[in-house]
Symmetry: C2
Subunit: 404 residues, 2 copies
Amino acid sequence: MTDKNPLRSHIASANAPDCDFPIQNLPYGVFSTEGGAPRCGVAIGDRIVDLAKAEEAGLIDAQGTFSQPVLNDFIALGREVWDRTRARLTELLAEGGAETIPTVAMADAQMHLPIRVTEFTDFYASKNHAFNVGVLFRGPENALPPQWTHMPIGYNGRASSVVVSGTDIRRPMGQVKGEDGPVWTECKRLDLELELGAIVGANSSMGERVSVEQAEEMIFGYVLLNDWSARDIQAWEYQPLGPFQAKALGTTISPWIVTTAALEPFRCKGAERVNPVLPYLEEKRPGFFDINLEWALNDTVLGRTNYNVMYWSSAQQLAHHAVSGCPMRVGDLLGTGTISGPSRDQTGALLEMTEAGKNPVEIDGGTRIFIEDGDSITLRGHASGDGYRIGFGECAGKVLPAQQ
Amino acid sequence: MTDKNPLRSHIASANAPDCDFPIQNLPYGVFSTEGGAPRCGVAIGDRIVDLAKAEEAGLIDAQGTFSQPVLNDFIALGREVWDRTRARLTELLAEGGAETIPTVAMADAQMHLPIRVTEFTDFYASKNHAFNVGVLFRGPENALPPQWTHMPIGYNGRASSVVVSGTDIRRPMGQVKGEDGPVWTECKRLDLELELGAIVGANSSMGERVSVEQAEEMIFGYVLLNDWSARDIQAWEYQPLGPFQAKALGTTISPWIVTTAALEPFRCKGAERVNPVLPYLEEKRPGFFDINLEWALNDTVLGRTNYNVMYWSSAQQLAHHAVSGCPMRVGDLLGTGTISGPSRDQTGALLEMTEAGKNPVEIDGGTRIFIEDGDSITLRGHASGDGYRIGFGECAGKVLPAQQ
């Protein structure tokens, strides 16, 4: 990026070069302050614009949707309203803009799930991850499924267990494979998955397909997403119908939805395609964004990667999701799949990083093969502009002991 | 059943012995009449009790929920309200009851999806079906997965494509396996799956498990369910993460939810257990119902079976669904899985009945290996009392040609 004099805000904290939430970002979330109801807001520096109050004050118009406790109704208003609202917020928050715009300090706010998650789908779109995990579950000769380079493989996950950053995650109990049949146990191979999640912002109709171009227009924005995974439960349950309870213990998303509009300057190509794709999956322009990602176990950053390592974009995933005529809806959450680069320190899951427990990783004060009780996992991500960055904030969760 | 003098209704059509909707049944649905908004009703004979009007008239009290266009809010009131409402409706509709209760003719009503489907999960709980399909997809030695007799295997389906009986289903386009990679085609192996669906009527909390006894109490009732399946798309896509677009073209449910209370006299055991189950899946009493089921292709009934052939009950499936702490919610729909008995004419899918196309079935005016454009599939089911029956009505859908 070569914008040497980026636009600045009258909210001074937004102008620091390492601030996740400059005026170029304007991500949406849902917050509350003591005694108040959850309502919609936009992050700017270390403050949150109270969009409900801003609308009451006549500064902005979103048909009253900002007083809702989720962003679904605002998102459903459509791309024209998203664009107009972004332009108006930029005007209000720029230097010389409306210094009276109502804000609260982030430190005084509690963040909530930004959307009512209509349905949750998780994909499997990093070739490194798919290969690494395939080797561990099925051996090197069957590692990459034959259709992997021809379609974005995904599965329907559970929307009810999607929670906002900061929510504790309980280690699950379940069945795992024993010598003589299944054993009832707490999960002993609890893992993270570093992902982004695309938020679907428009409906499609049953029986209709969606082109990749239409799909791009339908995506409102992205969150960080940690798809907590119980690997021992997964290994026993997942054939032939896919992962189920191993993935239903919790999926954590960041409270801020970074809009596609804010990410647009960082659009880039993904991994090199190894074969042509069927026309319904062809992209007319690059479908990825140059987003640096990292994850930490407690205070130790263990993995650093970039969204641009992925093979299938969220737009391709959405087009594939609707290919059989499946209706897509506002609030659908599409996990990109674990984002792993080729080297060990670029992997987005402990299963890969420790080779299923064979090679422990070092952290401040110890080692780990999987996540232990009391551990916290934190995801972070940002796109780097010149003099500013488009950040996602944090997506964090702490693991509680199992309930026997 | 030995109730020689079953209770009779002042709605005469309800007293015919082959009527699906006698006073013993009282299934809930959502209907509209010309110019009116969708609202809640109960089937009685060939009429529908207008519950919204009955509540307005002070005949019944459900806290205003009956004027909603889905039953979720009523169901969320809980089992005590379900029981009290059933008792009150029985009183109002019995001979000598309130002949002024507002009803409309079924013939004048349009039926709607009875619930807003929160999430949809489909299981795989007929051993015959699991084995038969396993042989066709993976060969006889890997037919039944090793965990199959130890846990109810299921996968998350797509709630957005659940539709009410009478909705046309469009044949999907998609990828199937070709000689040299995937081929873009309309589905050539379109199939049905004869199932019941359990409607979850209470929430559970994240991080908490649900016992089988609690799960039984949480189930509001059952519908007929046809999980339309694109077998050629399924074969290419389903490994390793399970079926996805092959199952997202549509899932049809019957408009009437038959309550667990109405089915209680028909409680029975399912298939014999081949090994002990882990304590969290143990049942204190039989978990099935003696429900005769059939499916027809156009005018020809091809399959006849009974819910009592199943291995895992809906209560066990629900307990397993929450074992990792996954929150369950009012309006969740749990498909039982295809209900197939041991013989060919007891199978609930054409894949099994025709052995993946090898043995065509005869229908009036022709033969079929899979479903053709213009074909209708109709499911029916009822439990047989003495002098009455608890029927589900019909669950029907017609297949439209693919959109190329």
